[in-house]
């Protein structure tokens, strides 16, 4: 099975500053990963649909201007769609108090300004094998079906 991580890099909410997410997307590609990159202002529904169709391993949310406040909403939507096997990481400006809140909502890790791009890539690589194992599928016709 191919373990090239497939990562969605996106922004939800209202902020449009995307220098950081572009730099991260380029770096993950250079690290050998497959990156789905979207412009900012993605609706949560659209992100969930995309994550389902693309069968992504990890969703990277870039949040600079308090958009992280609706990440819990995203986490709930992902769960409802059966995607709690997908890891969500958040990068950007997140006050300390809110970091705890995000982790509790199910976010795997929060990256603050000054994080190294290699750290982000390594984090993704370490998460993915665990997820893949959880998500293998048996396609045989069920006996008696």
């Amino acid at each position: 099975m191919n373990i090239v991580p497939k990562v969605l890099v996106t922004k939800i909410g209202l902020d449009g500053h995307d220098r950081g997410s572009r730099v991260v997307a380029a770096h993950l590609r250079d690290a050998g990963m497959e990156v789905i990159y979207t412009p900012p202002w993605q609706a949560i529904d659209a992100v969930v649909k995309l994550a389902v169709e693309e069968d992504v391993d990890v969703i990277g949310i870039s949040s600079l201007a308090t958009d992280h406040r609706i990440v819990p909403k995203l986490m709930r939507a992902l769960k409802e769609a059966g995607l709690d096997g997908v890891a969500v990481i958040v990068g950007g400006i997140v006050p300390d108090a809110d970091e705890a809140m995000l982790i509790e909502a199910g976010v795997a890790r929060v990256f603050h300004p000054g994080s190294s791009l290699d750290d982000i890539a390594d984090c993704i690589r370490s998460i993915v094998p665990a997820l893949r194992r959880v998500r293998s599928v048996d396609w045989k016709e069920e006996a008696g079906a």
Partner: protein
């Protein structure tokens, strides 16, 4: 977590199941062969439209508009958007679907992005089988978008029922396309961004080129302004009509003819007693390639409790032998070597993938990567064969009506 996807859910059209089915095939995961077998009887209902052209021609924007038009006709649309991988790192940024956001959110639309993963021809290796998934699960139209700028990026023509080549005006695309030969695969030519200067000139250049070709079929040249919806309905009509004219599922017949290599590999594998004794399965084959699998059992283990190196060697060697014999000429191994990287234990599932590195008249070399299911590279194998002048199988009987699916 929801119930895991299953065949039943897939055939019912469950979105997540469709996505996971595509992943299984894309990644050669266990179950891919079973899946393809299940889907085989359900193929041939979709109209497959290919869209290609040089970078910057506005393909994704055009696809976005087409999706809107087709969904507006009450149909279900599947889209496969292929982007090239980086030759240096193997990674890729898949940004096409971002331009399809207007209609991508529609319930009757399914979009999947693929990286070519180094495969040549402009498509990902298993694109045709991935299209099959969408075909079998009830999508009326499947659009495959890829980058095509040169003569080598024409694989799209094999898998599509109708092929659209897109050029943008003013960038010399039309002339470049003519020179590069990609026009030959076009069933329909599109001049996109037709509000820009040079659109009429590009249209004329293409029409002139077509007149010089001696083919009987007519290739329409259609101008579009995707952002304004102009020319889109005309394009949709032309593409769907051409696909119907060809006959839906035509691509499957074309594929059948090209499956000789895969069939041969699978046949040879069944004739190999040693491989069967060890419990090695051949799960895939093609021109110059083969994939074998084995689950390490108690009798494969050595005195140290790990998997015997000879077993791993045999697994890789089996793939090597099949790949090198896939062309039909008798190939005998004259040298092989293996390096073991990590320990393997009972219960591990191993996959050996052989690919052809070079092939001359008399000698050919292969590389085989043996991986464990968690993705770890377990061993690296290399081998050289001597190619004889004779066949490795008796000549087949004269062709009769095609039997069954594949």
């Amino acid at each position: 977590m929801d119930d895991p996807p299953s065949l039943a859910r897939l055939l019912a059209g469950d979105r997540r199941a469709v996505a996971q089915a595509i992943s299984t095939i894309e990644n050669d995961a266990p179950g891919a062969v079973d899946l393809e077998r299940e889907l085989a009887a359900r193929l041939g209902r979709s109209r497959v439209i290919g869209i290609t052209g040089p970078p910057g021609a506005g393909k994704s924007t055009l696809v976005n508009a087409l999706i809107g038009e087709i969904v507006g006709r009450g149909l279900r649309v599947g889209v496969v958007a292929v982007d090239p991988s980086s030759p240096l790192t193997g990674g890729a940024v898949l940004g096409d679907r971002a331009r399809m956001s207007d209609h991508g959110a529609h319930e009757r639309v399914f979009i999947r992005s693929l990286s070519t993963r180094g495969h040549v021809g402009g498509l990902a290796r298993r694109t045709d089988r991935i299209v099959d998934v969408l075909d079998a699960t009830g999508f009326d139209v499947v659009i495959v978008e890829t980058v095509g700028a040169g003569q080598s990026e024409v694989a799209i023509a094999d898998i599509a029922d109708a092929c659209i080549v897109v050029c943008a005006p003013g960038l010399g695309d039309a002339l470049q396309a003519i020179k590069a030969g990609i026009l030959e695969i076009a069933d329909i030519l599109v001049v996109s961004k037709a509000d820009l200067p040079g659109a009429d000139a590009a249209s004329r250049d293409l029409a002139d080129m077509l007149r010089l070709r001696r083919e009987a079929r007519s290739v329409p040249v259609i101008k579009t302004i995707a952002t304004r919806g102009e020319g889109i309905a005309t394009l949709a009509d032309a593409a769907l009509a051409r696909a119907d004219e060809r006959g839906r599922g035509q691509r499957l017949h074309r594929r059948r003819d090209g499956n000789a290599h895969a069939d041969r590999v699978l046949r040879l594998a069944t004739r190999d007693p040693f491989v069967r004794t060890l419990g090695i399965d051949c799960i895939d084959g093609g021109e110059g390639r083969a994939t074998t699998r084995l689950r390490v059992a108690a009798h494969h283990v050595n005195f140290n409790g790990g998997c015997h190196g000879g077993v791993i060697f045999a697994l890789a060697d089996a793939a090597f032998g099949l790949a090198s014999n896939s062309h039909g000429a008798l190939a005998s191994g004259i040298e092989a070597h293996i390096g073991f990287h990590v320990g393997v234990k009972e219960g591990d599932a191993l996959t050996a993938r052989a690919t052809e590195i070079s092939r001359g008249n008399k000698l050919a070399t292969y590389r085989v990567d043996v991986t464990r299911d968690d993705g770890t590279l377990v061993a690296s194998f290399g081998g050289t064969v001597y190619v004889a002048a004779r066949a490795n199988e008796p000549a087949p009987p004269p062709a009769s009506a095609a039997s069954g699916a594949r």
